[in-house]
Amino acid sequence: MSPSKTSPVVLLLFLNSLIPSLASDRFGAEMIVDGTFFRVHQSGTPYLDSGSEWFFNGRGILRASFNINSYLSLFYEGRYDQLEPLNHRNVLEGHGYGHPVLQGFLRYSTKLPTGLTLQFGKFGSPFGHYLTEDYPNLNPLITPPLLYTHAGTIRSDRIPLDAYDLIRWQYYNPSTYYPYSRQYDGQPILNYPYPTGVMAYGDWAKLDYRFAAVNSSLSNPLNLGNPGQRLQWIAGGGYSPFSRLRIGTSLARGPYLDASVQSSLPAGTSINDYNQSALGFDLQFSMNHLEIQSELVFNSFQVPNIYKSLGTTGYYIQVKQTLNPRVYAAVRWDQLISDHITTYYYDHYNSSYRFDSNVNSLEVALGIRITEKMLLKTAYQYRPTEGIYSYRENNVGMQLVYSFDVKKLFRIP
């Protein structure tokens, strides 16, 4: 049998052997679906009328894992988002965005006392506390933190001519009404970071550690096959002095520009010369029915044609209190503060301007557990933005989240 005919046969045999495994206790899958009604009311916006707009967004997440043996496991995650792509850019009206493979990795557990575990493939970034905020059944509020959603001025596929050009980007990039991000051309500091690479992590005594070598940056994650991938690293660790408290720190550094801008760069430089650097601290505290979570990130971008690195400090403090078995209340205070750069702007010579808007957000939510699998959240968000132009948002929303076991749904034994 020739090799060209062997491959499909081998694949078929492999799949045929896999089917009984899928029906065994080594395989599990769950789906998380949510529907969100959100009203955005914006006021004080130049060039745009103040007003309100209602949105509905439907999303689905499919997660599955398969234990090959006691050491090896396979993990998979795919997503669908009705309204916006995961990179917060190029949002099109009425367009659904599917991500067939958001995560796909092999995990090897060494069983060593230090708990060393290796992960190969495409996985969620180990920076900070990102991943738990990216699931609607784990996030006690409706919107994720600004660190993950606010699309700022900096772009990976476009470089400014100078500082003045960068300031103008704020002015000529108006927002439109979307529930979780804006149609800025920029990108968040943590822009759905699901890079590809290898990660080692574990814990020992009261310490935990992780180190990842990946193919792309926090703000511009690339799939395998995309041009411009560069090897870069992410590291982190944490200390739990006692069970209720953990304090963590994270570091990440690497190039963030797309390969498409190479020709626009100053002579003698390459995309590898302009890095995103991030230093983060995170805290988790739990006691009885109270949960506190906080992150603080110092981020900077080296931007072509700009004389200094542009830094943003972002943080949030999130508190959740369970009031009774069915009801909880949560609140999050969020802030993004951008550095100043000196430039002339209209008649103001050598004045200092923030290269990006300062964004604040106060969101309060009430969560009602209808069943152990179904969660209803109602939230109000006040979101003032201060920059070249300032505006305020008063947003309200309602989100219904339902998570279920796929095997039970389809009666897979």
């Binding site: 991943l131 574990g202 069970s243 949960e291 369970t322 009774n324 078995p325």
Partner: protein, 276 residues
């Protein structure tokens, strides 16, 4: 005795002469004595014994009159149906901080241990004196949180029982239930600590963990003590059952319950082989 003496000897001042024929008869005193003894027996013996004396059929019992002789159900149960899969731990993300002991195997599952056999429609369901209240000397039953599982997975108890929920994992769990029978949320507490819940209504309580979605347990709360969990080999015993007709139920969380009508005779042992 004084009265008897007066009757037999006639020393009863002022007694009418109508008893003179007895006194004259040589058999008189014996007749009177015998009749009096029979009268005492009829008045002061148990009802059942009186019936026996009088020739009626009855249940013979030497026990106090309010306690019928109890019966026993004994037997084996086995599972032949295919059991649908249970929740699977999707541990996508490493728990930053302390993790479970990786050297310990997962909690082994023998599905027979998740079977509960109990009686329905007990006539004494409302007789609270038949409940066996937990004494302070008895250890409270517990559902342990260990290796990201609840152990045991199924716990049958009697109304009024207090169940402990000790955390034996080196990280948080958040035990809760939204069941109509009993809703509770124990919050987060570390290893070595325990919280307790009193179950004061009969019914089924499903228990979960907010943090680990695959963790679940079932507590069956009965208003009577006629239930049991089979041994690993399938053997079971339910004893001290009052006589009567009942519906025996064999329950497993993920299988259709098996029901059989049984009749318990006093002092008898009913042997059954049950298949689920």
């Amino acid at each position: 005795m004084g009265t008897l003496s007066a009757l037999t000897t006639g020393k009863n001042s002022g007694s009418p002469p109508r008893l003179s024929w007895l006194k004259a008869s040589a058999l008189g005193p014996r007749v009177i004595l015998s009749g009096f003894m029979v009268l005492q027996l009829l008045l002061f013996t148990p009802l059942d014994f009186r019936f026996l004396l009088l020739g009626r059929e009855s249940v013979v019992s030497l026990t106090p009159k309010d306690e019928p002789v109890k019966g026993t159900i004994k037997g084996t149960v086995r599972i032949e149906s295919k059991i649908p899969s249970k929740s699977f731990p999707l541990n996508f993300y490493s728990r930053k901080g302390t993790t479970a002991n990786r050297n310990q195997p997962a909690v082994p599952v023998n599905e027979i241990e998740n079977v509960v056999i109990y009686l329905e429609e007990t006539v004494q369901a409302k007789d609270k004196t038949l409940l066996m209240p937990q004494t302070s000397a008895e250890p409270q039953p517990a559902i342990r949180q260990i290796n990201e599982f609840f152990s045991p997975h199924v716990l049958p108890i009697v109304v009024g029982t207090v169940v402990q929920f000790p955390n034996e994992d080196p990280f948080f769990h958040n035990v809760f239930s939204l069941s109509g029978t009993k809703s509770f949320d124990l919050g987060r507490y570390p290893k070595g600590h325990t919280r307790s819940v009193k179950f004061d209504r009969p019914g089924i309580v499903k228990v979960f963990c907010h943090i680990h979605s695959h963790m679940n347990a079932v507590i069956l709360v009965f208003d009577h003590p006629y239930f049991c969990v089979p041994l690993v080999n399938g053997n079971f015993v339910i004893d001290h059952i009052p006589p009567g007709r009942y519906t025996l139920v064999v329950w497993h969380e993920r299988l259709k319950p098996f029901k059989q009508v049984v009749s318990i005779q006093p002092g008898t042992q009913l042997s059954l082989e049950l298949v689920l």
